[in-house]
Structure formats: structure tokens, C-alpha cells
Symmetry: C2
Subunit: 163 residues, 2 copies
DNA sequence: CGCAATTCAGTTGTGCGCAACTCAATTGCT
DNA sequence: AGCAATTGAGTTGCGCACAACTGAATTGCG
């Protein structure tokens, strides 16, 4: 079948042929829109993602937040420290497992949720896309991420097996 | 018509309903795959993007590179300095306009191109997608970026008018 | 029980991305 | 010509992302 290696060598490396760049640019463009949309909430975009998870689950150990967002402690620890500094979350060492730290929204952090309700609509409007089209794009991207994660973590040769 | 605001308040903020997160995750997944693919070239992913542009155009002022990659001097200046330190590019103040700095690949940087030819194929394989599907995704993402860029630069209220 | 292996959060170091700024060169307006 | 506005690159400061590491708590195996 038709694959990339049918293209001549000069074409292969053209910037505008590469999906990665489109993705990279789109992610940064989203980030910019969120930056302005979240400015008066006092949240950055990754902080907003953490708050989404916490609003949904009420209270979670750092580990679980990281699983949901695919972020490790090296990213989350300082981020959560900043969220604690701005009064959005509380962190408490878990009594039953002293290694684990439980994070939960403060009343102020929970209240922020009301003001965030408008954000998805504004973002949706900024995309200029129909909901159905966005959903389809999302599905494709999730499939892509799954494939890339499988290929990236050393299982390149063998297929990604479900645990 | 069916839009986001038909969904109940609790649903609106669910992480897995938000396109931005899928995009964010996919971009990071790509970054991870590139990280390993580019490791023996000694390039990071953004450095690779810069080299793609330079391989294609031979020599460009910083300004033009920034336009192609949607990056400003705050990002490019240190990145180019690192590329210069690793011997991939040369920087020279333009004689006809002393404000401008022209960047071009060194012989070593140009030679790197040969070794990079294999990268897109490897990345393509990691996506697990057909070329046609990738191309279509790229088109959608570019449209999305264009819409978001228009909305992000302060025209939130009024529709994005073509210049 | 006792100790090695594992798990979890946090730290360190590097690089990207962007806003806000500086500084010099150039352009444009009068 | 003279001077203000603009342009281009660079710097600073901050936050995110990730690799590699530390250190404490827990688990598990003999």
C-alpha cells in the first residue's frame, strides 16, 4: 500500500508534511486560548487540568492524578505546591500509607468550579468546530496517543498488550 | 442545534470530554517518541523542527524561522545558541541589516540531514495510522490552529475576519 | 522476623514556551 | 537632516515536562 517511503527523499523531511508539527502547533494554540480564558481564575492550563480531576473525584492521591493526566511527580509536585500556595488545594500525608499524599480542593478551590463552568463553552466557540467534529477528532487523537505511548515505552516491536 | 451547553453542568467539565486534553496528551506522546528517535542525532524535537526548516531553505534569518514555526525570539534565541554550541548551525549578523541574524547549517548540520531521513518513517510507523488518515488529521489540526490563533489574539467576541 | 526490592513523593537539572522587557538598527515622518 | 516609532534579536523570569535521582514508607520473600 501507499506509505511514506514512496515519497522522494527531499519530500520526506518537509515541515508541512509532518503531522507532529501540526499537533505541536495546535497544542500551543490551545494553550494560548486557555491562558486567556483561565487568567481571571488564576489558573494555568495544567493547573486547570488538575482541578478538573479534583472537582470530579473530590480527593485523590498524587499518584492517581498523575495517572489520569499522564504526568509524573516531577511535574505534579511543584505544580501542586503552587496550587496549594494559591489556596486552591490542600495536601495531606495519608495516615494509612505515609508515602502517599492526598490532594483535595479547599473551599475556595471548590468554589472556583462554578466560575470554570463557562470555560469549555468559550473554548468550544474558539475552535470554530461543531461538537461532533470535535468529538471525532478527540477519538482519533486518543487512538494516536495510545499507539505512540505503546511505541515509545520500549514495546515498539511487540503490540501493546492489555494488562 | 446540538451544542455543548445542552450538557448538564456536571458533564461539561469532565476531563475526558475535553478535546484540549487529548491534544495535549497526543503532543506529549509525540514528543516522547521523537525524543528517542532523535537521541542519536543529538537533537531535541524543537531543534529538529528548526533543522527541518534550515535543511529546506538553506539559510534564514531568525525572524523567518520564527514565522515558519510560530516561535518568538524568546524561544528561538537560546535554542539557536544551543544548536550553535553543538556545531549544527552558524549565526551571522546580516551585513545589510545589522538587526537581523542569519542562521544556516554548518557542514555537520547539513550532514545530519542524511541521518534524519529515516525519522519520519519511524514516527509514521509509531503512529500506527495509514498515511491518508494522518494527512486528514493534519488538515483538521491546521484548521483548528488557525481558528484558535484567530480567537486567541483578542478577537474572542467578534468572528475571525479574514484580512 | 529481617532485610532487599518496590513504591511514592519530592528534588535537581535541562530544555521548551511565552510574556515582558532591553537595546541597537532601521524606517518613516516632518 | 533630525527625531520618534518600529523592527529584530536577545534577556529575564516563570511555569511546564521529563529524566535521573533521593529518601522515607511499605511490601514481600527467605
Amino acid at each position: 500500500m501507499e506509505t511514506v517511503d514512496t515519497a522522494p527523499a527531499e519530500e520526506v523531511l518537509r515541515l508541512d508534511h509532518q503531522i507532529c508539527f501540526s499537533l505541536h502547533a495546535a497544542a500551543r494554540a490551545f494553550n494560548g486560548v486557555y491562558r486567556t480564558a483561565l487568567k481571571d481564575l488564576g489558573l494555568t492550563y495544567p493547573q486547570y487540568l488538575v482541578m478538573l480531576v479534583l472537582w470530579e473525584h473530590g480527593e485523590l492521591p498524587v499518584k492517581r492524578i498523575g495517572e489520569r493526566l499522564r504526568l509524573d511527580s516531577g511535574t505534579l509536585s511543584p505544580l501542586l505546591k503552587r496550587l496549594e500556595a494559591t489556596g486552591c488545594v490542600e495536601r495531606r500525608r495519608s495516615p494509612e500509607d505515609e508515602r502517599s499524599v492526598t490532594v483535595r480542593p479547599t473551599p475556595a478551590g471548590a468554589a472556583l468550579r462554578e466560575r470554570a463552568l463557562d470555560v469549555p463553552r468559550r473554548i468550544g466557540a474558539a475552535t470554530g468546530m461543531e461538537l461532533a467534529e470535535i468529538m471525532e477528532l478527540r477519538v482519533r487523537l486518543d487512538r494516536l496517543t495510545e499507539a505512540l505511548d505503546g511505541a515509545g515505552t520500549g514495546l515498539a516491536a511487540e503490540e501493546c498488550v492489555r494488562d
